[in-house]
């Protein structure tokens, strides 16, 4: 035990001395949370919209005002002819152009029928879709108000409710995502790099000839990173709750326990890499390309897995981050209890045992060679 503590102490000295790893450990989670929280948000707010109004009557004015007042749009240009539309899109000045025909109010009150045209810049399809939806919703609201006093022959009233995330905050999506990525990056990459470094420097030999059991060398190497990853989880959660106003719905203890399990998964992956390679560069390359990339793609955090072709959907099941991400979302956002994440937990635990046993087996073979 004393030996173990001596080792852990040394490992902390290493991390503290090495500015690069310190920056990665503390800076990375903070930067990622702030970036996703404030810069890379998928919420569409204050999109610029241009108005081409051929009627200029009270009705169109009211509608334009409403659009401008909503948090989604800022009216920043009034156009005079259709020819200008192309120009404002080319310059990238607006995302959406709203066109009112002549006699808008007249048609609406007399013929009970009129048209508006929405033209969106679909070079970014998602944003185009979202802005069209927002604009249509505002127009629909207006239409409902106008209709209020009149009896319609048929009407379906829609009432929608956004469960779990009523304000549609993107933090509900990215906080678990950032946790997943950070753990993958720190747990797997830093552990593998730090072990391979000892191989490169020749200090591994010294450790192996010492009375420490070889397995203990690996464990002592991994434990400090486990602690650091755990601290990072706490750091991320604190930022989520206090800076991004994202409440944690489920049990905090369960959340931390599941995180610990996932940290062990990533550490096992790190060990697996480190027993197979002999240079820090290769270790880093493998962690980034073989672990981080698939994690990013297949966790469901950035790209919905349901939309992928079937072979990729099947493949995504092999990626541990997918399971952790779904556990985190279930606990943090939906507030579900352990029995609802049991399946994912078992899969994750199984993967961990699998990776760890291969790593240890391979480590023993290497010792003999």
């Amino acid at each position: 035990m004393k030996v173990f503590f001596a080792f852990v102490k040394k490992e902390f000295w290493h991390v503290i001395r090495d500015k690069r790893s310190l920056i990665i450990l503390i800076g990375l989670p903070i930067v990622m949370m702030l970036l996703f929280g404030f810069a890379l948000t998928s919420e569409v707010k204050n999109s610029n919209i241009a108005i081409l109004d051929f009627s200029k009557d009270p009705a169109t004015k009211t509608l334009v005002d409403r659009i401008d007042q909503s948090q989604y749009f800022t009216v920043n240009k009034y156009l005079n002819s259709e020819k200008e539309i192309e120009g404002v899109f080319r310059k990238g000045e607006v995302r959406l152009v709203l066109i009112f025909p002549q006699n808008f109010e007249n048609d609406l009150s007399k013929d009970k029928k009129t048209q508006v045209r929405l033209v969106a810049d679909a070079s970014d399809p998602n944003t185009a879709n979202i802005t069209i939806n927002y604009a249509s919703a505002i127009i629909r609201d207006y239409q409902n108000e106008v209709n209020e006093n009149k009896m319609l022959p048929y009407a379906i009233e829609m009432e929608t409710r956004m469960l779990y995330n009523p304000q549609l905050k993107s933090s509900y999506n990215f906080v678990p995502g950032v946790m997943t990525l950070i753990m993958m990056l720190l747990g797997a990459m830093m552990t593998s790099v730090s072990i391979v470094k000892e191989k490169e420097m020749g200090t591994m030999e010294i450790l192996l000839v010492s009375p420490m059991k070889p397995i203990m060398v690996l464990i002592s190497k991994a434990v400090p990173y486990m602690v650091l990853c755990f601290l990072d989880i706490i750091l991320i959660l604190l930022m989520a709750v206090y800076i991004l106003d994202m409440p944690i719905q489920g049990s905090l203890v369960l959340l931390l326990a599941e995180s610990l399990l996932f940290i062990i998964t990533t550490l096992s992956l790190g060990l697996l890499i480190s027993v197979n390679v002999n240079s820090q560069q290769v270790a880093m390359f493998i962690s980034l390309v073989a672990l981080l990339m698939p994690s990013l793609i297949f966790s469901g955090f950035m790209f919905p897995i349901e939309n992928m072709p079937l072979p990729l959907q099947v493949m995504s099941n092999l990626i541990p981050t997918k399971w952790y991400y779904s556990i985190m979302k279930a606990i943090m956002v939906k507030g579900l209890s352990f029995e609802f994440v049991l399946k994912q937990t078992l899969i994750l635990a199984g993967m961990t045992v699998f990776f760890l046993s291969i790593a240890i087996k391979k480590f023993k073979i290497n010792l003999e060679a």
């Binding site: 503590f5 040394k10 290493h14 200090t203 010294i206």
Partner: protein, 247 residues
């Protein structure tokens, strides 16, 4: 009582598949002796050394180190040996003092005596102000001296030195050998591999491995006589020329 013989091998063999890395070697090393373990690259030195350090099990034959069997008691062996390799074996981004504390710690030296020992060591090496500097900033010669001192910090019965003086200037090498003599005088057996034939002359006894087997063993003076040459270089060249395998 301590046995007179600290390393004992008899028909020690290690195979990797069809390849016989160490072929039937037998030798004894006495307590306090400085034993030079020579051989060209690929002759099987490293494999033999790994077996004696308890890292690798032999395929057949007998070997004991400090009285412990390499098959079953390799954990005990590790407690009783020190090791220093050609690849530099301290942590560059720890200070001298921290390195001593760490290596002392993994050899299970308790905190109190470790403190005393490390102060002693720092005094003896004349490190003083450098003790709290990062090892990476010290010159190579110093690093190697510290490295050796750390390897014998826990008073091992045997210290294994794997080409300890690679890349060091002749003066520092000479000083390094003074430290080896000191250790040997204290009763620590020194088992050293080297490519420098002048260093072979410094050993009490040397063995020369060729193609996995021991081709010659004895005092440097005896070997020179036996092969009728002026220096160990001559002995080595005569033997190594006949080698079939090389790296």
């Amino acid at each position: 009582m301590m046995p007179e013989i600290v390393i004992h091998t008899e028909n020690l063999t290690r195979r990797f598949g069809d390849f016989v890395a160490v072929n039937n070697i037998s030798f004894d090393v006495k307590v306090g002796e400085i034993f030079g373990f020579l051989g060209a690259n690929g002759a099987g030195k490293t494999t033999a050394m790994k077996i004696l350090c308890g890292l690798l099990s032999p395929s057949s034959g007998v070997a004991t180190v400090a009285g412990f069997d390499v098959y079953k008691e390799n954990e005990r062996i590790k407690e009783n040996i020190g090791y220093m390799s050609q690849k530099f074996s301290l942590y560059e981004n720890l200070t001298v003092r921290e390195n001593i504390t760490f290596f002392g710690g993994i050899y299970g030296i308790d905190r109190k005596s470790l403190k005393i020992k490390s102060e002693e060591l720092i005094q003896r090496l004349g490190l003083g102000p450098e003790a709290d500097k990062l090892v990476g900033s010290l010159p190579l010669g110093w690093k190697q001296k510290i490295s050796f001192s750390v390897a014998i910090l826990h008073n091992p019965k045997v210290v294994f030195l794997d080409e300890p003086t690679g890349g060091v200037d002749p003066i520092t090498r000479r000083q390094f050998w003074d430290m080896i003599y000191e250790a040997s005088a204290k009763g620590i057996t020194v088992f050293v591999t080297t490519h420098y034939m002048d260093e072979a002359e410094y050993c009490d006894r040397v063995s020369i491995m060729v193609d996995g087997a021991i081709a010659a063993i004895g005092k440097p003076s005896e070997l020179k006589q036996q092969f009728g040459v002026e220096n160990m270089d001559g002995v080595f060249l005569q033997l190594a020329r006949g080698a079939k395998r090389s790296e």
